[in-house]
């Protein structure tokens, strides 16, 4: 039921995990199929590839997977699925499309229809024009942002405290119009800084200074090297499509999921997964998005390892990636040997990261140390006696404290200016994700 997008889907799936509504069910290897009779006259056609974690249903539900898929899975898991049905057309088509998807490695859909050359050229020209217009809009918007920043420090940031919510809203809306959404989001986070208590003005100036740096970097983008220019574009709000990313040469490794965080902003839910490569030792973060309470369709599960290709976004250093081909799933590894370094080393890694990307908010590290709770604050003390505050949600921190129980263990987390946000720890070769 871990794949269920939400609790109501789980409950709905359980209700359908009875033989009554189903007909023509069957299995072949990892493939399951069946027809589920609902209130309408036409039953829904449901197919599931258990091994590949793919599913399809003909119902109009916007949830993924839907309750019919969940019901079929539960019936199969409970060994109550009548497996006598013959392979149906829809199940066979589903199986074929899965095989085609696995064979395709050029990022294009397996059943893509070749395009007319003239139409392709017109499409490309249109895209170039749109891109050029966007560049202009962003430049205008960033210039306006710079003027606004200078006006604020010139007239005084004290004005922000009079109405924090509205103070930056107009310029944030302007950034949306200028197609610089990441800048708009950064501006909309400023009211929290204004309301943050003592020292708010210093913290606010820090954030405004970062935006000033970004505006200046955008203005001089032509002078920057390619990687840094790509970072600036991303920080402004340019995105790289998955199709483009999948054309970037992948990094193949056995990737262990060492962290998971769900956030929500403006009704968009984001799941961030942190991965570490067994051979390369590289870090990666993979993002999934959903709207309106739909779940996240991802084969990556906490603490488990996949042999897969990751396609990294341009970055300095590259961290964000898109999941490409999954070659195999290995379940929970029992032989992770990351000894964990000291906090001094982690701080050095953070400084290096910040030197290459001044807008970075954190970098994954592994630090060996002991967790404690003192005066209401969680701390990690490394084996050298150096310590850092642990940040994050209370349940995860208590769980970390309770499970590590005063032992010195490698703790995986994201280090940043305010401390370390733990996501997992290692125990006897196993990754325990909080």
């Amino acid at each position: 039921m871990e794949v269920a997008p939400d609790a109501s889907s789980r409950a709905a799936g359980r209700r359908l995990a009875v033989p009554g509504p189903w007909s023509g069910t069957g299995t072949q290897g990892a493939l399951l199929w069946g027809e589920c009779h609902g209130s309408g006259s036409t039953p829904y056609q449901v197919t599931v590839d258990v091994a590949a974690r793919r599913w399809k249903c003909s119902c109009p539900s916007r949830k993924f997977p839907c309750k019919h898929v969940l019901g079929l899975l539960l019936l199969w898991a409970d060994a109550r699925l009548d497996e006598s049905g013959t392979l149906t057309d829809f199940a066979e088509r589903f199986a074929r499309s899965g095989a085609a998807r696995r064979k395709s490695d050029d990022g294009s859909p397996a059943d893509a229809v070749p395009e007319d050359p003239a139409a392709a050229q017109a499409r490309r020209r249109g895209a170039e024009q749109r891109a050029a217009r966007r560049e202009e809009r962003v430049s205008e918007g960033m210039a306006e942002l710079e003027r606004w920043l200078q006006d604020q420090v010139s007239s005084g940031l004290a004005a922000a405290s009079r109405d924090p919510e509205q103070w930056a809203e107009q310029v944030a809306a302007r950034m949306v119009d200028a197609q610089a959404p990441a800048v708009a989001s950064a501006l909309r986070r400023l009211p929290r800084v204004v309301r943050s208590g003592d020292g708010w003005n210093e913290r606010l100036l820090e954030e405004l200074a970062r935006l000033h740096l970004l505006a200046r970097a955008w203005a001089r983008a032509a002078e920057l090297d390619e990687d840094l220019a790509a970072v600036v574009r991303r920080r402004v709000g340019f995105t790289v499509t998955t199709e483009e990313l999948l054309r970037v040469p992948p990094v193949r490794d056995r990737w262990t999921v060492v962290g998971l965080r769900d956030t929500e902003e403006d009704r968009l839910s984001t799941r961030t997964l942190w991965l570490r490569g067994r051979s390369t030792g590289r870090w990666a973060s993979v993002h999934y998005y959903s709207r309106g309470g739909e779940g996240f369709a991802t084969p990556l599960r906490r603490g488990e390892e996949v042999d897969a290709d990751l396609h990294f976004h341009p970055g300095r250093p590259p961290l964000r990636a898109a999941l490409g081909t999954v070659h195999a799933e290995h379940g929970r590894p029992a032989d992770c040997t990351w000894p964990g370094g000291t906090l001094a080393r982690a701080r050095a890694q953070w400084r290096e990261t910040l030197a290459r990307d001044p807008w970075s908010d954190g970098w994954p590290v592994v630090v060996r140390g002991t967790v404690d709770l003192v005066g209401g604050c969680f701390v990690l003390t490394d084996d050298d006696g150096d310590a850092v505050a642990l940040l994050g949600r209370w349940p995860g921190l208590v769980e970390l404290l309770g499970l590590t129980a005063a032992r010195s263990l490698p703790v995986v987390g994201e280090i940043g200016p305010d401390g370390l946000t733990p996501t997992a720890f290692l125990e006897d070769g196993t990754v325990v994700v909080l």
């Binding site: 409950a11 359980r14 009875v18 009554g20 960033m142 210039a143 710079e146 003027r147 920043l149 200078q150 006006d151 420090v153 010139s154 007239s155 005084g156 940031l157 004290a158 003005n201 210093e202 100036l205 820090e206 405004l208 200074a209 970062r210 000033h212 740096l213 505006a215 200046r216 203005a219 001089r220 982690a346 701080r347 953070w350 910040l354 030197a355 001044p358 002991t370 404690d372 709770l373 003192v374 209401g376 604050c377 701390v379 003390t381 150096d386 850092v388 505050a389 349940p395 208590v398 769980e399 404290l401 309770g402 499970l403 129980a405 005063a406 280090i415 940043g416 200016p417 305010d418 401390g419």
Partner: protein, 493 residues
């Protein structure tokens, strides 16, 4: 030297009016001169240079990673019990929102010599009220207790003794409940603490607390109650009087019996059934006694409610039921007062007779309705009789609201009762009637371990029938709850 705080002050007040010494920046922070600024946008002046300096400072500040005071804790003692397997831990988490079911789960876990892991404890305590730790503490293990001692569960509090709860309670309901619990644990201590309290609180609070003495009421309570009865405040006097009436040998009890003998005369007639003559004068201080002054039948009935039912043969040579019949024949309705007597003196036989009396209500246009079963009287009966009456009420269409009756039955419910409950549900729910969420909880908490599978199967069958949309949600929740309880009992019983 101009540091970041100086820049922040200037920016807060406005660098147009508050000068900032940009020449005083440290050497590592480089800011172009006003006339040499390149690549910037907007107006000149100190603002862009201040922002340049602030950006460099900000990056340097952010690179530092705020340090913390090092601290390494003492390790918790080694665990003495294994942890509940993950699948069952998940079941316990899902039951954590229901206090009764969580308590059942904790009992089962503890009985098997298991504990909950810190991860499970954290999830069970997240968003919980402050008393949940007390429920979970027996199965928290060494790590859980260690976490609690470190303050890892803010807002939770340990299990308090009855005396501690009494000492901390401030709201009237909480104080009464704490006192009743104290009396149940140690009647003498409860009386002693109450006596101290009565000396300092107002009459209204004394009147609210005194009834708690009914728990473990005994001759040792006579002096305290007599003191309150002889006091001047009406509320405490009435509360004390009601309790004294229950103590055989007390002056109050003896007085009521004396009045019964004086005000009720049994006229035995040849070849005819006896009859009662109700008369006599009420006491001059009738108000103090809570006795109606003017009406002889009303006076008599008030006395009837305060005399132990088993005393009537001695007082009048009549069994209590014979007395009831004669009082009815005399034109009175003794049953409400006999009900009080049955409850006060926990008289099973009288309770049984009253419960079996016709319950029809006279309602315009509805001659078929009956009053619900009296749960308080039901609780006094023998178990088999309770079960029979509840099952009968569930099966009787005239009994319009039988669901509450289940509350009188302690767990486990016999099959006859839960089958009748489900049959009634099937009949009634599709038309919009049926149990409330509270009644569902009552049922689900009272199904015994041996019947969980059968009840779950019956409910799943109802689910598959697909009718009665209004009750589908509680039905599915019920199936889920029973499945969870089933899983626990299968693995841990």
């Amino acid at each position: 030297m101009t540091g970041f705080p100086d820049l922040a002050v200037a920016a807060t007040l406005g660098c147009a009016s508050r000068r900032v010494d940009l020449a005083g920046l440290p050497g590592e922070i480089s800011v172009p001169g006003e006339d040499a600024r390149a690549g910037g946008a907007g107006a000149g002046g100190p603002a862009p240079r201040l922002l340049d300096a602030a950006a460099q400072y900000a990056t340097a500040r952010r690179a530092r990673v705020r340090p913390a005071a090092p601290s390494r804790p003492e390790a918790p003692p080694p665990e003495t019990r294994p942890a509940v397997p993950p699948r069952l831990a998940g079941v316990v988490q899902r039951l954590a929102g229901d206090p009764e079911l969580l308590s059942e789960a904790v009992r089962l876990v503890a009985a098997r010599g298991l504990r909950l892991s810190p991860s499970t404890l954290v999830r069970c305590l997240e968003g919980a009220d402050e008393d949940r730790w007390a429920v979970l503490e027996p199965v928290a293990g060494q790590a859980g207790a260690w976490l609690f001692a470190k303050g890892a569960f803010p807002g939770q509090r340990p299990r308090l003794s009855a005396q501690e709860r009494w000492a901390r309670a401030t709201e009237p309901e909480a104080r009464t409940a704490a006192l009743r619990a104290l009396r149940a644990a140690d009647p003498a201590l409860g009386r002693e603490l109450l006596e101290q309290e009565l000396a300092v609180v107002r009459p209204r609070e004394r009147a609210a607390l005194l009834p708690a003495l009914e728990v473990g009421l005994g001759p040792e309570d006579l002096p305290l109650l007599t003191g309150q009865w002889e006091g001047r405040a009406a509320g405490p006097r009435a509360a004390a009087r009601d309790l004294l009436a229950r103590l055989p040998g007390s002056a109050v009890a003896r007085q009521h019996e004396a009045w019964a003998a004086e005000w009720i005369t049994v006229q035995r007639r040849l070849a005819r059934s006896p009859r009662l003559v109700l008369g006599g004068e009420g006491p001059p201080d009738a108000e103090r006694w809570g006795i109606p002054r003017d009406s002889a039948p009303a006076r008599v009935l008030q006395v009837v409610s305060r005399v132990p039912p088993d005393s009537w043969p001695r007082i009048l040579g009549l069994d209590v039921l014979e007395l009831a019949a004669l009082l009815e024949a005399a034109g009175t309705d003794p049953w409400p007062h006999l009900r009080t007597a049955a409850l006060t003196f926990r008289h099973r036989r009288l309770a049984s007779v009253i419960v079996h009396r016709p319950r029809q209500v006279r309602r315009a246009g509805d001659r078929s309705a009956v009053r619900p079963l009296d749960q308080d009287l039901l609780r006094l009966l023998e178990r088999p009789e309770q079960e029979r009456l509840v099952a009968q009420a569930l099966r009787s269409p005239e009994d319009r609201w039988p669901w509450d009756a289940v509350a009188a039955l302690a767990a486990p419910l016999p099959a006859a009762v839960w089958r009748a409950w489900l049959e009634r549900l099937v009949r009634e729910a599709p038309t919009g009637g049926g149990p409330t969420a509270a009644h569902w909880r009552m049922l689900l908490h009272r199904v015994g371990p041996a019947d969980l599978t059968a009840v779950g199967a019956a409910l799943r069958e109802l689910t598959a029938r697909g009718d009665g949309a209004a009750w589908r949600t509680p039905l599915h929740r019920a199936v889920e709850t029973l499945t969870l309880r089933s899983a626990l009992h299968e693995e841990l019983s």
